[in-house]
Symmetry: C2
Subunit: 353 residues, 2 copies
DNA sequence: ATTAGCACTCACGCCGAATGAGTGCTAACA
DNA sequence: TGTTAGCACTCATTCGGCGTGAGTGCTAAT
């Protein structure tokens, strides 16, 4: 059985209608609302065929049809038209990015927030993560009589603070000296050779043994933390807005799933090489039973060499794929252009610059 | 009409029972479950009196009684017994605090998380905020060819990073020199006298005009950000676990309310001097209609001179006030002892120390 | 002051009928 | 052979009625 033009149109009608209304749609409604030039009986026959192909299903005997996961898949792969963003939306997305360059965490947060507001779905954004991580610069800053902050700048430009608590804090000159020493040590050895670095440092600063030890530990932690993906979510509550989750139990399950970090990580890492395409996982295609009624649209953004992060949109299976893909493409393009322009040196100023 | 001992006992029975079960409770049940030595008819008469006093209400004619806001108020003010924490819980609360000293933001986050897990309510923790804020130390750290991080340590020991984007980054010696200069300048002048600081700095480092200007701006931002209360929430989803919010619409309203930052701020600032007592706002006592079915238990913790933050617990009116107050008292005591011991110098080590 | 007894109220759950949206099938038609 | 009108059939949903039971309020007796 092949799909003629009319059947495609009927499938499309069912999908777009269902995305809008969340109600099963029947033959008569299609005949009236969409001008296909045939009677409801004909549409009925076609729908019967579409059901036989597994593209639509009937929730119960006397109801209309709704798209199946396979139906959505066909739609997304073959039929969906890319959607032009309105200038307002495009502007908004651009502003979000441009106003927040410089502070990665803030940028991620704001991006997530904007996307959540725009799409009404749940957004997850991961911080850029590179496969190999090197420390670029370390600086010790005094806080009070018993604590020093180690500011650690990594090669992918993230800046992390680690508070070191020590029994006595050396003066600023000494702190600077130690900072400088560790920086040269890091340049001369690789981080894998921590023992060498440690012995050199402890030899040079025997009187600051405690501080140096803790500093080295902090550096190791920073490197390890790289494996520990940081991410930001926004719009989790949007879930409650959809009739398919008006059952509190269902909503709770989804919330629980979203809270579990590991789950999200696998969600984003699995089965997908990092590439330039938007990736769509529909309903049961993902193997987490808590999210079988959800779809996930995700895309990666490059952030300098070897370093990339992910933006994911989680919504009901009945989500507006076309709009979501457009928005994702736009924000990723914005992120990447701005990032590139910064490293090229013709940057605009960030909010805090 | 006065409240004799038995009526108090009946009220208490109704409140504790309702807190546990969320079901209206009738005279017969009280007679059976609580050993008052009188018949259900007697209890019925007493309940009628309690209702007349506005301490309990009937959801509908043929239902049992539930406590009114005024009933809870009487209970909380006059009848509630402080509850001993189990050693496990006490330990847990202590560990949370002690393992996270040093990194305020992390400490707040973990505290919120622990309290949410423990109480099953929603927790809001605000970062300590002092009425006057002074900068204690500033250090510039290079990130890449076009950006420098200004690490700003304030007197209340918070450490903030501000990325400064500049057209060219001076070398490390120069950055250190500028850092040192700004530190002495800040010591010599007050922050109110920014113009003097600016003119001195710009005179000393004419070739780094851009960097210095942005640095000063960042410092001002840091001071101003102090007005901007930072807070952490946890356990928002716990709301969904309570039958009173099993209606999705209600849950959504509460979520919306909790999302609005301003709302939370007023919730915490309003009508309450900062003092050592746990503060309880019951149901309709707060004037936000979205939260009229919720109660808020909050307490402030001192964080060094003039600086304090707030921990708030938000739950259904039918919340376990006694347990909540105990937990709050415990965590606040822990926070304050640990903070004090740090400034006294006999600290334990933090996780990252 | 307390209690037993009784009439009364009313939310809740269950049943059955009516409704109506939607289907599948068949026979007729172009 | 594809399309259509017509019709019987299905079944979720709605609504009214009815029985049940938890709970009250009142009264009269203790």
């Amino acid at each position: 059985m092949d799909l003629n033009d009319r059947k495609f149109k009927i499938l499309e009608a069912i999908i777009t209608d269902y995305i809008k209304t969340a109600e099963p749609i029947g033959s008569r409604t299609i005949a009236k609302k969409y001008d296909l030039g045939v009677s409801s009986a004909t549409i009925r026959n076609d729908m019967s065929d579409l059901e036989e192909l597994g593209l639509i299903v009937q929730p119960h005997t006397s109801a209309g049809r709704i798209p199946s996961d396979r139906g959505y898949r066909l739609y997304v792969d073959k039929m969906m038209q890319s959607q032009e963003l309105s200038p307002e939306v495009a502007d908004l997305l651009q502003n979000v990015v441009e106003n927040n360059i410089g502070q990665i965490d803030y940028l991620m947060q704001q991006t997530a927030k904007a996307l959540a507001a725009l799409t009404n779905y749940t957004i997850v954004v991961t911080e850029p993560k590179s496969s190999r991580l090197n420390i670029k610069h370390v600086q010790l800053v005094p806080v009070d009589e018993r604590s020093v902050v180690a500011v650690i700048v990594t090669e992918n430009k993230s800046v992390k603070n680690h508070v070191l608590r020590v029994s006595n804090v050396p003066d600023i000159e000494q702190l600077n000296s130690i900072s400088q020493a560790i920086n040269t040590a890091i340049q001369n050895y690789t981080l894998q050779d921590m023992e060498s670095i440690a012995s050199v440092m402890l030899q040079t600063y025997p009187e600051n043994r405690e501080l140096v030890t803790k500093l080295l530990k902090a550096i190791l932690t920073a490197v390890k933390q790289n494996d520990n993906v940081h991410y930001y979510t926004s719009g989790v509550n949007n879930i409650l807005g959809f009739p398919e989750f008006s059952d509190v139990e269902k909503a709770k399950n989804i919330f629980r799933a979203l809270e579990e970090k590991d789950m999200l990580i696998t969600l984003f890492d699995k089965d997908s090489e990092h590439n330039d395409e938007v990736h769509i996982v529909i309903g049961g295609e993902n193997n987490m039973k808590e999210l079988q009624e959800c779809s996930i649209v995700r895309a990666d953004y490059n952030y300098g060499n070897d370093s990339y992060g992910t933006i994911g949109v989680i919504g009901p299976t009945r989500m507006n794929y076309s709009q979501t893909v457009s928005v994702l493409n736009a924000i990723i393009k914005n992120l990447e252009t701005v990032i590139k322009s910064i490293s090229d040196g013709k940057n605009k100023d960030g909010k805090n610059g």
